[in-house]
């Protein structure tokens, strides 16, 4: 989300269950010098259409256990760099969830929305109101607000900024 918490509209990219961090960024790119160079390879093995077509404000819709596997923070970082607005899933692997919050990438656990949203749907999200609007299908899905501690981190853009804002 941007600094004004303004809602964006983006396209949904759907991926399957147990979508692991090796799919988000394969190991052989992890030691590249910059996130920018790594990001060119995001999802390349499983969704070669992703990088050529993804636009800032798009979102990923996962299923159960999104982000399982490696602790690589490069995974949420390349998604954030590309401009992925959020990830919605039925559940998240613990370390991916932690890393996403820590870098200020909001992630939403909402099984019903995952079942309803189709590939390519136009989605608008308001984090303040906790509402996902599916403009393609004319539906809305609500999600509970983040716990105060996590919202505090997300709002300022991540854990390090949060620490700074409190010192």
């Amino acid at each position: 989300m941007d600094k004004n918490n303004k809602a964006h509209t983006g396209k949904a990219w759907k991926v399957g269950r147990h979508f692991d961090t090796d799919q988000i960024l394969p190991s052989q790119y992890m030691l590249f010098p910059t996130i920018e160079e790594m990001a060119k390879h995001a999802l390349e093995g499983i969704r070669p259409d992703f990088i050529p077509n993804v636009r800032r404000g798009d979102l990923l819709v996962g299923d159960e256990n999104f982000g399982c596997g490696s602790s690589r923070e490069q995974a949420p970082r390349v998604l954030k760099y590309i401009g992925i607005e959020t990830v919605i899933a039925k559940s998240f692997a613990s370390i991916f969830f932690r890393n996403a919050i820590n870098i200020g990438l909001p992630v939403i656990v909402l099984p019903d929305a995952v079942d309803r949203i189709r590939e390519g749907d136009r989605i608008e999200i308001s984090f303040e109101k906790g509402v996902i609007t599916n403009k393609t299908q004319g539906e809305t899905y609500t999600f509970p607000p983040f716990p105060e501690f996590l919202m505090g981190i997300i709002k300022v853009g991540g854990l390090l900024q949060y620490a700074k804002s409190r010192s």
Partner: protein, 413 residues
Amino acid sequence: MGYTITEKLFSRVSGRPNVISGDIITFTPDWSMANDATAHISIDLYRSEYGKECVKLPERSVLIIDHNVPADSPSTAWVHKKMRNFAIEQGMLLYDAKGICHQIMIENHVAAGQIIVGCDSHSCTYGAIGAFGGGIGCTDIVYLWKTGELWWYVPESICIELIGGVKEPVTARDVILAIIGQLGPDAAIGRVMEFTGVGVHNMSIPERIVLCNMAVEGGAVCGIVEPDEKVISFLPGRPHQFFKSDADARYYSSYSINLNGLDPMIACPHSMENIVPVSRVEGLSINQAFIGSCNNGRIEDLRAAAKVLKGNKVKKAVRLVISPASINIYRQALQEGLIDIFLEAGAQVLNPSCSTCWGGCTGLVGDGERLISTGTRNFKGRSGSHKSEIYLASAITTAVSAIEGVITCPVKE
């Protein structure tokens, strides 16, 4: 109301009595660890935020160069150099090409009762020592270097009672594959797998390490075993503190698993959802076999593989890649004559590193190839091409399959 061992460990480090699952606490871990898969991101972040400021508690901060060893490219060499310089400047502990991070941490640092965090998901391994190990990210460790603290949701626990036992050629590796196969790859998301019962207490510490190391493949933040006297004889001279779960501790759920008569197990591509007895996929041809990783690169695994390979040859056109998990293990294997047996059988013996299992540098597989591996993950493309297949099994099943050239069950009907 009683407490789990995990709740007691977080109570200890946070200095707060009666910590329970669901609490968000801040604490100072006993050790932190970062390796070359992610440390360059952390160091860059630290530099850009805090410049040359000193890190807190450098004497408890470990940097380990283990993933891409030796450097496979100029950019990797640059990452390694960055880590060496940072460790020296900050007075941190540095292990440079000495072995896989979790093996190094156990060989040198981990003690029962401690909490250890690592920028690596298999930090869950330390539970085998009666400690809590948890995986963290780059931002976490930068925050920890800067402040000496971390935030943590104290996790609930799942109690997994192991009844009975296994004997060769069935191993602890088959046990953890069977457990994840039964529970599913997301059964323990955000929770701890606490292994209890005669089945785990009869296991050696290396066997418990195999068990706890793969807890994350079932979604768990840590796999943990109540420590006993075996911990002290395995790691003498460490400041161990023994904690155990109360009889009335609260668990999210409980399982009982009977190990008697367990078959050798194998995880088929491309996730831990596909775990079956090896006999179900016998006869599939393989191109490569790999023995090593933080799960199965210890001396016990090498001995078991050598017993199978002695006097035999790896099948023509199949490559067998072996990487001991640390320099100490490598040296022990040399002294015991195991390396000679491997070379005689036609294996390629690599230096200690994450190699094939992490798929970032050496020992990779190509399009259309099938790998049988003692590594930790069978995700698509994990060990090379996205058009390859990875089957995960024990060192014994892997060694037998390397000789036969096809996936082979070490137990015959």
